[in-house]
């Protein structure tokens, strides 16, 4: 890098004014080598790498302001509480929720979905005979919690069908909605195919039928702006670690009236107002749902990650990623024997693929030796893999720091795979 590019930020990519060189410099791990080769990290859909701004926020909290929250009368207790609650406010702004009372900080998106499913059932808001609609594109974390309710409470689980190209039209959900539908729980973006679901229409259809809605935004929030008030969903979850924040934290947005009506999920400290051996009364929202010491540092780290993403601009990130996705789709399609799974017109930067003669595990192993990290397996979406009769796929996913040059490295590595298994 020359002083010019450092000082003036003049080094820009072809699309808009996205300064990829500067962005990459924010991620220390991207400069390391793997097996003696420069790391090409194409597994951000599993977990994204962290910018130094997030790492610095964590370090700063631990070095200066750390203590338990909502308890101590001492200085650090108050400082840590401010910073922890600052993370909640940051998430509220990010999702444009009306109030921080609607933002529950969880240990991840999985816990958010389990919390909603469990509390709705124990609160009698979902009961035997009530129908819950999910789709074939769901991650296991938006399947198994509802299966628990089916097996324990007798709710009925209905599954909307995906099309051959990996798309899921709103009609697929709409045709399952009936008088007994009480919940429609769908992913915003498929973690296997990258398909963007028409959640606006799905939410409107569910609402018209008097059903609640939950959107799994794990693969969406880092790629597209999300406004829960505009969406008008009842619940929205996402994971911190996939949006360049720490692991161990997720956020659940819930409509205040529903969260008010739902009983607590877990019992413990923090979530109570009074406790006697006869009975306990519970804290106000959102703390009613946050039993035990919460993810304090993670909240601070998540806030830094959201600051980082919004400083680049979600739309600009999306434009860059789509540019990389289009290029990668072209490059990979040109490889003999390679097949891309999932070609919905509206998709995010995820490419699932298989290669003739090589198992995805073989692909992942060989490209790893060339420094390229991809995922291989069923991607925690076994029903979807079964639907397409696939034991596994390899998956390359692109984040805000990936470049076309990295796509070239992937393509070269895949040519090597093709030769080795020919």
């Amino acid at each position: 890098m020359t002083p010019d590019t450092l000082g003036g930020g003049l080094h820009v990519s072809a699309v808009n004014d996205y300064d990829l060189t500067a962005v990459r410099a924010d991620f220390p791990i991207l400069s390391r080598e793997v097996h003696g080769k420069p790391l090409v990290y194409l597994d951000s859909a599993a977990s994204a790498q962290k910018p130094r701004q997030v790492i610095a926020a964590l370090t700063d909290l631990y070095e200066n302001d750390y203590a338990n929250v909502h308890r101590g009368i001492h200085y650090l207790g108050a400082a840590a509480t401010d910073r922890f609650e600052g993370g909640r406010e940051r998430v509220r702004r990010f999702l444009n929720a009306a109030s921080t009372r609607e933002i529950v900080l969880t240990k991840g998106a999985t816990e958010g979905i389990n919390l909603v499913a469990s509390s709705l059932a124990t609160g009698g808001m979902l009961k035997a005979g009530d129908e819950v609609i999910i789709t074939e594109l769901e991650h296991h974390s938006n399947i198994v919690p509802w299966q628990f309710l089916r097996d324990r409470y007798g709710i009925v689980l209905k599954v909307a069908k995906v099309e051959e190209d990996g798309s899921l039209p709103a009609e697929a959900v709409e045709r399952l909605i009936g008088p007994k539908t009480r919940m429609v729980a769908v992913t915003h973006v498929s973690n296997v195919f990258g398909t963007v679901l028409p959640v606006e229409r799905i939410i409107a259809a569910a609402k018209a039928a008097g059903a609640m809605t939950l959107i799994d935004g794990c693969q969406a929030v880092m790629h597209r702006p999300v406004d829960v008030q505009a969406l008008d969903c009842d619940f929205y979850v996402f994971a911190g670690h996939k949006i360049y924040g720490p692991s161990g934290i997720g956020a659940l947005y819930g409509r205040e009236a529903l969260l008010e009506a739902m009983p607590p999920y877990q019992g413990g400290g923090e979530m109570i107002r009074t406790v006697t051996f006869e009975e306990s009364t519970f804290a106000d929202l959102p703390h009613k749902f946050e039993a035990g010491t919460p993810p304090i540092a993670q909240s601070v780290g998540l806030a830094a990650a959201l600051d980082y993403v919004e400083s680049l601009g979600v739309e600009r990130i999306a434009a860059h990623e789509h540019d990389v996705l289009t290029y990668a789709t072209e490059r990979l399609s040109a490889i003999e024997g390679l097949r891309i799974w999932g070609s919905a017109p509206n998709k995010e930067s995820v490419i699932s693929f298989t290669m003739k003669g090589a198992h995805p595990h073989d692909i992942g192993t060989i490209v790893d030796r060339m420094g390229v990290a991809v995922r291989a397996g069923h991607h925690c979406a076994q029903p979807l893999m079964d639907r397409f009769d696939l034991p596994a796929t390899a998956r390359a996913s692109f984040g805000l720091y990936n470049s076309k040059a990295e796509v070239d490295t992937l393509a070269r590595a895949l040519e090597t795979v093709r030769e080795m298994f020919a």
């Binding site: 198992h359 995805p360 073989d362 192993t365 397996g377 069923h378 080795m420």
Partner: protein, 163 residues
Amino acid sequence: MTARPETQPSEDAGAAVPEDLVPIDEAQEDLVAEFGFFDDWMDKYQYLIDMGRKLPEFPEDWRADDYKVQGCQSQVWFVPEWHGDRLHLHARSDAHIVNGLIACLLRVYDWRTAQEILDTPPDFIAEIGLDQHLSGTRANGLRAMLDRIFSLARARGQGGGAA
């Protein structure tokens, strides 16, 4: 043990200890030496892939859930059977590289006695430089297959009798 498919050979179906079976220590040393010939990791993997391709036949209907060793990236089907005091192993994966690793395991552990197995930890995998493939149970079925070989040997060693 789980029920065997109808097609599985019984103990007297003619399978016998191969005449060219080398002592278990020698089998390990040979493997390490063979992989040592290659300087380049690509050649090592190519050799591994070729070893996997030369695995003995594995009947289609043994690729059954009863024999599946769970793994989230690739699958392994594993059918162990005792012939007298020796453990005979059949295994296959849907991934070439895993088949190569299975071939390595068979070179060392197939047709061995319980005591031979228990005396031979799988150190050769690390010496070859392929230990990352054994790093977790989630990634593939190899770790589980290896654990199973050792638990069978332990059960036998403790007077478990014919499995």
